[in-house]
């Protein structure tokens, strides 16, 4: 069950993970993108931290909304509206259900709708889609997350900047997939389970 507590803890850990891997994410974004994904995400999680700090006794909806707004207004680039939309959809849904599986499902739908990417296009969708599925079969784990992130390596990009490279995008991990991997890993570390 997603709670305010869990969400806050999750975002703290996500901040730390992004902070630690900022350079690495930008590095992943260099051969097949424009080298800024780490910087973009760092601005985002900093905004999230500040946004959450301003809230007094928020409910889950307000918490998720604050995260969404921070991501939308701080990240920019392609990943900003996608991560922002994901949390906005979760905020919309969370009064109805707090099950991670259902919330991540609407988040994924939001990402797909906003960006138009399908599975196999070498984007963050290739982490979100298989991970959402792991909730149904009970296999949600760091191992599955890593596998999903790794799976983008052999794909040819069809959305985002990496798509301009065509075949030459093969052989590189997708940076947005990596940061999505961190998002799910820190969800586990914060105590989130299915």
């Amino acid at each position: 069950m997603l709670t305010v507590e869990l969400t806050k803890k999750w975002m703290e850990l996500f901040y730390d993970e992004i902070d630690k891997n900022k350079a690495y994410l930008s590095e992943l974004d260099t051969p097949i993108g424009d080298g800024d994904h780490g910087n973009n995400m760092k601005r985002g999680v900093t905004g999230v931290k500040e946004g959450l700090a301003k809230l007094k006794e928020p409910d889950l909806k307000a918490t998720l909304q604050a995260i969404a707004m921070a991501l939308i207004s701080k990240v920019g680039g392609a990943s900003g509206p996608l991560y922002g939309t994901a949390f906005l959809e979760m905020a919309k849904k969370c009064n109805e259900t707090q099950k991670p599986e259902e919330l991540f499902t609407v988040a994924l739908e939001g990402i797909k709708k906003r960006g138009g990417a399908k599975e196999g296009d070498k984007t963050m969708v290739d982490v979100w889609a298989p991970i959402v599925k792991t909730f149904s079969d009970g296999s949600f784990s760091k191992e599955e997350i890593k596998k999903a992130v790794e799976s983008t390596k052999d794909m040819e990009a069809r959305k985002g900047r990496a798509s301009y490279l065509g075949e030459r995008s093969i052989g590189h991990l997708d940076p947005g997939a990596m940061s999505s991997g961190y998002l799910f890993e820190t969800f586990i570390d914060a105590g989130g389970t299915k």
Binding site: T30, G33, D34, G35, I72, S73, G76, P81, S163, L165
Partner: protein, 331 residues
């Protein structure tokens, strides 16, 4: 990285401030944003607003094209990063005069998504918003299943067209039609001698050897389609025009506008030599451009390189729009 900056994080706000304060007769900052609007508000009265923008690092694009006869406002994102929807939305609000607002967007996932989110926000306000997604870079194959072609220097041509038409009172629908009609006739291709260094990254987006060039690079150091030993200007021009010709089917019976665009670190000396070769090559095809411009318009920070845009003028009005007088820093 050797740059005249203070700190990589402060590049965008300081740059926007520097620009706006240097040219108060043209520009003003929209409070609490990194968006820039015309200071001559009277020039916008009763007209459709034109808003563009994108990542920073393309100076004078986009803020340098804000002014009477061209853009109404421009939104400056982080370096090579699309601006966020809240900022774009504020720019839309700042220029709307009840006639609607037209957005000129470059075809990058980020730009498209952020501008679309801003459009959604403006919808709620009841502001009519239409847009064009510019994708003039022929280095990338177009396809329904991918992101498609990128938006590069041809975007400046689009700014000029819709800016001039809006200044002459065109409606939002007319601007959309103009933009849609002109778009397929604008094609660009670039060649790089070195990649750009994003201040926060600190090293070039890719490395080229001392004698290497790369054809087809994007304006964010996206790699191109072929790398080879440096050639003479004539041969570079030959390659670019051949590819542009395949796209546009250059025809002596038709009229063309040409934009030669320096990428930031390429001196005008080289741009003029390149232009000389472009004109020679076109003359071989019995084409003499009806309009031409050479200089730094859509740059890629400190990239050394050049892009060539050819715009087929199928409508007589378009040449008038290109020649229409403007009051901007950058055109």
């Amino acid at each position: 990285m050797k740059k005249i900056i203070n700190s990589p994080q402060d590049v965008v706000p300081e740059m926007v401030d520097g620009l706006v304060r240097s040219y108060p007769e043209y520009l003003e900052r929209i409070p609490d944003t990194e968006a820039v609007v015309r200071s001559d508000k009277a020039s916008m009265k009763g007209k459709v607003g034109i808003v563009s923008g994108g990542g920073s690092g393309h100076e004078p694009a986009h803020a340098g094209f804000v002014g009477k006869g061209m853009l109404s406002a421009a939104v400056c994102g982080q370096v090579f990063t699309s601006p966020t929807p809240d900022q774009i939305y504020k720019a839309i609000q700042a220029v709307d005069q009840g006639k609607g607002v037209f957005l000129v967007i470059k075809n990058y996932s980020g730009d498209v998504m952020n501008f679309e989110m801003a459009k959604d926000m403006a919808d709620v306000d009841g502001i009519k918003v239409k847009s064009i997604i510019v994708d003039d870079d022929i280095a990338v194959e177009n396809s329904l299943y991918t992101q498609g072609k990128r938006g590069v220097a041809g975007t400046v041509i689009m700014h000029k067209l819709v800016g001039a038409a809006a200044d002459q009172g065109a409606s939002l629908d007319e601007l959309e039609e103009l933009a849609k009609n002109a778009l397929p006739h604008i094609s660009t291709l670039a060649v790089a001698l070195s990649a750009a260094t994003v201040p926060e990254v600190g090293k070039p987006g890719f490395e080229l050897a001392d004698d290497e060039i790369e054809y087809g690079v994007g304006i964010h150091s996206e790699p191109g389609y072929r790398r080879e030993k440096i050639k003479t200007s004539k041969k570079l021009v030959g390659e670019l025009i051949t590819k542009l010709d395949e796209q546009q089917h250059l025809d002596p019976e038709k009229q063309y506008a040409v934009l030669v665009n320096g990428m930031g670190a390429t001196p005008l000396m080289e741009q003029y030599i390149f232009s000389h070769d472009v004109l020679d090559k076109l003359a071989e095809k019995k084409i003499k451009p009806a309009f031409m411009k050479v200089g730094n318009y859509m740059t890629s920070i400190d990239m050394a390189g050049i892009s060539l845009t050819i715009f087929e003028l199928t409508d007589k009005k378009w040449l008038e729009y290109l020649n229409y007088s403007v009051e901007t820093v950058g055109w």
